[in-house]
Amino acid sequence: MSRPESEAAREWRHAGASTASMYGNFFFWLFREPFPTRQLGAQIVRVMLEGFGILAVAGIVEGAMFAWLGGWYGTKFSVVNWAGAASLYLLLSAATTLFGAMMFAAKIGTAFTVEIGSMQMSGQLDALRLMAVEPTQYIVIPRVLASILCLPILKAISDACAIIAAIVLSKLWFDISVPIFLQHALLVLKHTILTTSYIRCALHAFFISINACGLGFHFQGGAIELGRTTTKSIVINLICVLVIDTVYGVMDSVFGWSTV
C-alpha cells in the first residue's frame, strides 16, 4: 500500500513542476509575436537599479575579505607581494560570480516570485489572459531577458568594486604598492577566466529568473503560502547556483580554462 504524500512533499513536487513547466513556456513564447520590447526596457532599468547597490556592496566586502586573507597568508609564508594576484584570481574566477549570483537570487529572484505570486493571488494574471495577453510573454520573458543582460553588467560593477577594495586594503594594511599589486595580478589573470565567469553569470541569471518567475506564476494560496513560496525560491536558486558552479568547476579542471 502506498503511503499518503506529506504536505511538504506535495509542496516541493508542485514547486518542481512549476519551475520545470516555466522552462518549456519560456522557449515556447520567446519567439512569438508581439515581442514585449517596452516591458523589457522597463525591467532592465528596474533590475539595474535594484541590483546595483547590493552587488556593489558585495563586491567591496569580497574584495576586502580576499585581499586581507591573501595578505595574511602571504605574510605568513613570506610571499606577500603575491597577495594581490591570489586575491584577484579568486575574486574574478569564482567569488564575485558566486556571491553575486547569490545576492541576485536573494534580491531580484525573490522580488520576481513575490511580485508574480501576488499578481496570481489578486487575479491579475487571469485578467491578462482574459484580455488575450499571454502572461508568460508579457510578464516572464522581459524579466528573464533583463536578468540575463543585467547580471553580467552588475558583475562587472561588482568586480570593479572588489578590485578597488582589494587594492586599497592591500596598500593600507599590508603596504603592497599599487604597481606591485597589479603587476603580479596581471601575471595570473587569463582572459578565459573572465570570459567563463561572465558566461556563468548569464547562466545563473537565466536559471534564477526562470525558477523565480515559475514559482510565482504557479503560486496557489494566500499570504502564508506566498511566504513559503518565496523561501522555496531562494533555496532552489541557491542550490541551482551551487550546482552550476560545481559543474563549471569540474569542466574547468578537465579543460583547464582557468589554469594559471
Binding site: 489578486s122 491579475q124 487571469d126 485578467a127 489572459r129 482574459l130 484580455m131
Partner: protein, 251 residues
C-alpha cells in the same frame, strides 16, 4: 447566449461542479447565488476558458469553449469582459493605463482614439478625475468601478461579475450596485453576476439561479425567486436566519 450543459469540474480530491446546466439569456442580468466556496467563481472561470472542465459543454453564441483551441478561446474572450473579486487592476499602471491596456497592447486604436475612449469610460463610471491616480490610492469600490471600465473598453457582449460587492462597506456596495444596474439599462449588456449578497441580488437581478452542491438547483425570474415559497427565497431566509443566529449566540 451562454449555455452550459452537464459541466463537471473537479480539483484533485474535490468535485466542484457536477453536471451543472444553465442558460444565460441575452440582454438581461442573471445572478447566480450560493454559499461561499460552492464553486461560483469556478463556473465563471470555466465559462471564460481560464479553467477547463473535465466534461460537459459550454457554448457562447454557439461557439464551444470546452476543448477549444487557444485561437478559438482568444476569439471568444474578445466578447467577454470580467470583473474579478477585487478588481485585479495592474498595480504598476495608472488608472488611465489600466483602462487603456487592452486597446494599447493589441494596438486596436490610435493614441488619440484610445484617450477619447478611456476618458469616455471613466466618465461612465464617474471617475474621470482619477485618471492619473495609481490603484493603491483608490478605495475598494473605486477599484471595482475602474475594473468595470477596463472590462468594457473593448465593448464586450457579455459582462461577468465575480462577487462585485464582496468586502465593500454598504455605501460603496450601493454605488457598485447602481453602476451595474445603470450599465445594464443603458447598454443592454448580457450580465452574469455571482454573489451571495442578498441586497445586490434583489436590486440588479432579472433572473436568479441557486447553486447548491455543484449544480443549479433552482432557476427563476426575479418575482418568482423572491415569492414565498421558493427554493431561492428559502435559501436567502435560511442564510439570514443562520447569520442572525450566529451573531445572537456570539452576543
Amino acid at each position: 447566449m451562454i449555455c452550459a450543459r452537464g459541466v463537471h469540474f473537479a480539483f484533485p480530491g474535490r468535485t466542484v461542479l457536477e453536471a451543472l446546466s444553465i442558460d444565460i439569456e441575452e440582454s438581461i442580468t442573471t445572478v447566480i447565488v450560493g454559499r461561499s466556496g460552492i464553486g461560483k467563481s469556478v463556473l465563471l472561470k470555466c465559462i471564460t476558458g481560464l479553467l477547463r472542465p473535465q466534461s460537459g459543454s459550454i457554448t457562447i453564441d454557439g461557439d464551444e469553449v470546452v476543448g477549444a483551441s487557444r485561437q478559438q478561446i482568444l476569439a471568444i474572450r474578445r466578447r467577454i469582459g470580467m470583473l474579478f473579486q477585487e478588481g485585479a487592476l495592474f498595480d504598476s499602471m495608472t488608472v488611465f493605463e489600466n483602462v487603456a491596456f487592452p486597446l494599447s497592447y493589441h494596438k486596436l486604436a490610435s493614441g488619440k482614439e484610445i484617450e477619447r475612449r478611456v476618458l469616455a469610460y471613466l466618465d461612465l463610471v464617474g471617475l474621470r478625475e482619477y485618471a492619473r491616480a495609481m490603484p493603491q490610492e483608490l478605495s475598494g469600490g473605486m477599484k471595482r468601478k475602474i475594473a468595470v471600465a477596463r472590462a468594457m473598453i473593448l465593448e464586450p457582449r457579455y459582462l461577468l461579475y465575480d462577487e462585485p460587492t464582496a468586502g465593500l462597506d454598504p455605501a460603496s456596495a450601493a454605488v457598485v450596485e447602481s453602476m451595474i444596474r445603470r450599465l445594464q439599462r443603458e447598454r443592454a449588456i448580457t450580465s452574469l453576476v455571482v454573489t451571495h449578497d442578498i441586497d445586490l441580488t434583489r436590486y440588479i437581478a432579472d433572473r436568479i439561479a441557486l447553486m447548491e452542491e455543484g449544480r443549479i438547483s433552482a432557476h427563476a425570474g426575479r418575482e418568482d425567486a423572491f415569492a414565498e415559497p421558493s427554493a431561492i427565497y428559502e435559501h436567502f431566509i435560511e442564510n439570514r436566519e443562520r447569520i442572525r443566529a450566529e451573531n445572537g449566540s456570539q452576543g
